[in-house]
Symmetry: C2
Subunit: 202 residues, 2 copies
DNA sequence: CCGGATCCACTAGGATACTG
DNA sequence: CAGTATCCTAGTGGATCCGG
């Protein structure tokens, strides 16, 4: 990308992660370390050379790192984009209410969405079965895989779980077992989500 | 921009604000409502047709609104991007340490940078004279213009003030009058800024 | 099969000239 | 002043091919 040539944090940030696909690559690696072909299949439509280009740039900029086993992995610096990505996910939740339509969907994306949308102050562990994917939430952090002794277990389609987290469906749309208190506490959405578009001055 | 076609908050957000220049336009309107030509001169290098395109899209998406007097103004929905922009500014602070170089710089950009970098819990008012620009901070919010009864007044070049806020220079690089306590409290940077790039696993 | 590289058609972006 | 109209270039998308 051509640099904006502005001495401004936003412009400098966009100089490095403002390119098309770049933040989506970071999103994938935020979920877990991935191989080239795993990233590619998670990003339908990306050209192979473009993905290779982006990975090279991200590595040169110190955001990602290629492990000896061939998986790409975020550095600590790259992971510090999580806050910005979560903010964008929360803002983008507004555009989710139009429904899925014919868009692609991967259950793993739930990990990022839930990390951004769920209440951070949750105590205890909740296991989530979304379609065939299993993930869990502890202390407001979302990770892939099951939990040893979950306080509650939620089951539903990934789409429904996402819709509940985004406030588009009531919690009753999901099957919940165990401590239902932990679940309602978990699903209390963060700020900055779901207000209607209004026009104001100043 | 071509849509990513992904049912994901991040992808949907980028479908609307991921285009080149778009977030910088939002940044300008976050500072204050602006006319077409004011936006253009704040974004050196933007093509006139491109700016017109972006403004049309942003208006169609309900992020901005054209007032009867011809100034473009953020809607409440558009202003909800402030959190994401602040996060990007904080992340981008890492790239500011390379110095200004030959990049453009506008004193007004300080308003956004300070809003992102300064401690939000500040009490009292601090007036900032950056070159010929005057702005002030109250309750962690930054606005253009002077303050009625400031607790402290900071003077310096906009570049130095930015550098202090980003932690690249000590507070002693600036001239401070009044309650120096309020100033040191103000300049205590938020999290997520300034750690060195390290490589870690997992 | 994985991890790309190469080629080509297409589209978005950049620079400048021009207009109501 | 606030854009529109062009032209040209760089970046993107899609398909295919290639070496390990």
């Amino acid at each position: 990308m051509k640099t904006y040539g502005q001495f401004c944090g936003l412009a400098r940030a966009l100089d490095h992660v403002g390119d098309r696909w770049t933040l989506l690559i970071v999103r994938e690696l935020l979920i877990e370390a991935r191989r080239y072909s795993q990233i590619r299949e998670a990003l339908p439509g990306v050209a192979t050379n473009l993905l290779a280009d982006r990975l090279r740039s991200l590595e040169a900029d110190g955001l990602i790192w290629k492990r000896p086993d061939g998986t790409y992995c975020l550095t600590a610096f790259g992971r510090r984009l999580e806050g910005a990505i979560h903010e964008l996910v929360r803002w983008g939740a507004e555009w989710m209410s139009a429904g899925r339509g014919s868009d692609h969907f991967r259950p793993q994306w739930l990990a990022v969405a839930l990390g951004a949308l769920l209440a951070a102050e949750t105590v205890g562990g909740v296991e989530i079965h979304a379609d065939d994917e299993v993930l869990h939430v502890t202390d407001g952090r979302v990770s892939l895989g099951p939990l040893e002794r979950p306080d509650a277990v939620i089951r539903g389609s990934a789409e429904d779980i996402l819709a509940v987290a985004a406030g588009m469906l009531p919690i009753s749309a999901l099957s919940v077992r165990g401590d239902s208190n932990a679940v309602t506490q978990l699903m209390r959405r963060r700020d900055n989500v779901g207000s209607t578009t209004t026009f104001s001055d100043t």
